[in-house]
Symmetry: C2
Subunit: 327 residues, 2 copies
């Protein structure tokens, strides 16, 4: 039996869900998700505010992606209450937070829920520190909280100058170990300031990543977001991330080069435009792989969900195929 | 291999939890719980009001009793949130209601959760009708809802004349089948008008019980509740239940004949007195078994619980021993 290849996916939320769901279909990969802990919006934000727990939302999405339970259990974890005092709450989030409150340990909660969901692989919070994201805008204004940064109109108007945590965040030692032992590390896709960058604001994550002998791949977002990544090209994204991980680490950049339909783009008109992919050229440092990565199915709106979700998404199978070809 | 004896426990809430927890330790019994669906207080009441679900609370207690999961999962199902928007909600109740909402079926919810909790045996709602309990008091006043009946001071002042559901309730066919096939049927203990009688207000339950060839045992409560069972003796309880199940069906009545400590009785001074057990005499109809059934451990108050819980309880092992001796 050949040794399984160790693949680490760094991100959070829907982007990591897509990558993990695609890679899960390759049985010779051993998957680990390292997940941003900056989320403080929606159901997750309410649970953090009211119960002082760590953010369950991104973690839940990765657990569901790696779950080998039947569809019912996976759907249950994503089920949202609509109406009543539980409105907007996601059952999986309540589940994770209840076990954390009961045991006093987020790690224990993940172990219990990984068993229940029959998770193959590991889902690791990048840090166990209770941190909040802070953005300094180009006009000097300070915006606190990931959800606020994602939604405050001043962010899109003035743009982000600097982003940091409200306190020091030590890395989860298990996350560091998995980076050290990885054969392939996939960063992204994901909301730039909410899901991606917060991973690299955690102490020692970038340093360990730089030292790791794994092949490193960056999967670029499909869409820009006003105020965060205005008119970014694929190369701008790479440069943007590399501000937080110096020196340049990516062996390869995977990006989409198909335009979404006019119908879908029309729905995005207030949020952003496709990432610019026309100008991409291979450099000495990076190998660029541009191909069609679009998911042509439009996801249904989940009743009770209070957060704006991405409609233009990566196709998990197309994306996994490109990643696996590099491993 | 000898055939397992089929034991059906009829009740709801803490009483059934105690009986089932004790009987579970006897591997040659096949246990079924038939559970009252009248509860509308606390976490259960909120979920019923806000999401139109069937009452999960009593069902949850029976599932936990029959669970062979580790302690963590069992504790998780009984975990209550304190503070915040989930305050007073019980995690297991939310779990049951989320699966019911998602699948549209209470029965499916029970199947899923029975698997997760590794339940040995069956837990069956006595009815799948969404009923509410109504009491007519001796002063003519109508009180609606189980929780209201249990707590309204008028009930204790004037006493209950008549009790019924707000609509017809068909029996769960699986509950009827289990009664027909039972070798031993245990009724009680449990709150008289909240947990016990509502089972017999469901169509065909009493009729099927009367026809069943099983040995039938009634386990009498330890304590009286003002307004519901004022100064009841053990025989008064039997007569009270038999008003709803005619003709007399019990082969045997098990009752406690030890006084609780003064310390515990002092805590009950506003709620009720011990059931009178001094006058019990065997009749032609019934065999009475009186013995020490008291649990000497005082249960801890669960943080966040909004319902008054019983402190004077049956000892599950003492009770199970008496029941098994009859099987």
């Amino acid at each position: 039996m050949t040794k399984k290849k160790k693949v680490v996916v760094i991100g959070g939320g829907t982007g990591s869900f897509t990558v993990l769901s695609g890679l899960k279909k390759y049985p010779d990969l051993e998957l680990t998700a390292i997940v941003s802990m900056a989320d403080d919006g929606g159901s997750t934000g309410k649970l953090r505010d009211e119960y002082g727990v760590l953010p369950p939302g991104d973690i839940r999405q990765c657990l569901v992606a790696l779950s080998n339970s039947d569809d019912l259990m996976r759907e249950l974890f994503n089920f949202r209450f609509s109406g009543g005092s539980l409105t907007g709450h996601n059952f999986g989030n309540i589940f994770i937070s209840a076990v954390e409150k009961m045991t006093g340990s987020f790690n224990d909660a993940l172990k219990v829920i990984s068993l229940i969901l029959n998770v193959k692989g590991q889902v690791l919070p990048v840090t166990l520190a209770k941190v909040h994201l802070v953005a300094e805008l180009n006009n000097g204004k300070i915006i606190s909280g990931q959800n606020e940064i994602a939604n405050n109109h001043l962010v899109s108007r003035f743009g982000v100058k600097k982003i940091y945590f409200d306190k020091k965040a030590k890395a989860n030692p298990e996350a560091l170990r998995s980076i050290k032992e990885a054969d392939l590390i996939v960063v992204g896709p994901g909301n730039f300031y909410s899901s991606l960058i917060p991973n690299f604001l955690v102490q020692d994550i970038s340093g360990t990543l730089i030292k790791s002998r794994a092949k490193k791949v960056y999967v670029c977002n499909l869409m820009n977001q006003y105020g965060q990544t205005d008119n970014f090209s694929v190369s701008d994204f790479v440069r943007g991330i590399e501000l937080f991980i110096k020196p340049s680490i990516f062996d390869c950049i995977i990006y989409n080069k198909t335009f979404p339909s006019r119908e879908l783009l029309a729905k995005y008109v207030d949020e952003g435009q496709p990432v610019l992919f026309g100008q991409v050229q291979a450099t000495d440092k990076h190998k660029y792989i541009g191909t069609d990565l679009l998911n042509n199915k439009i996801p249904k709106k989940v009743k009770g969900d209070t957060i704006q979700r991405t409609l233009i998404r990566h196709d998990q199978d197309k994306l996994a195929k490109e990643i696996v070809a590099l491993s």
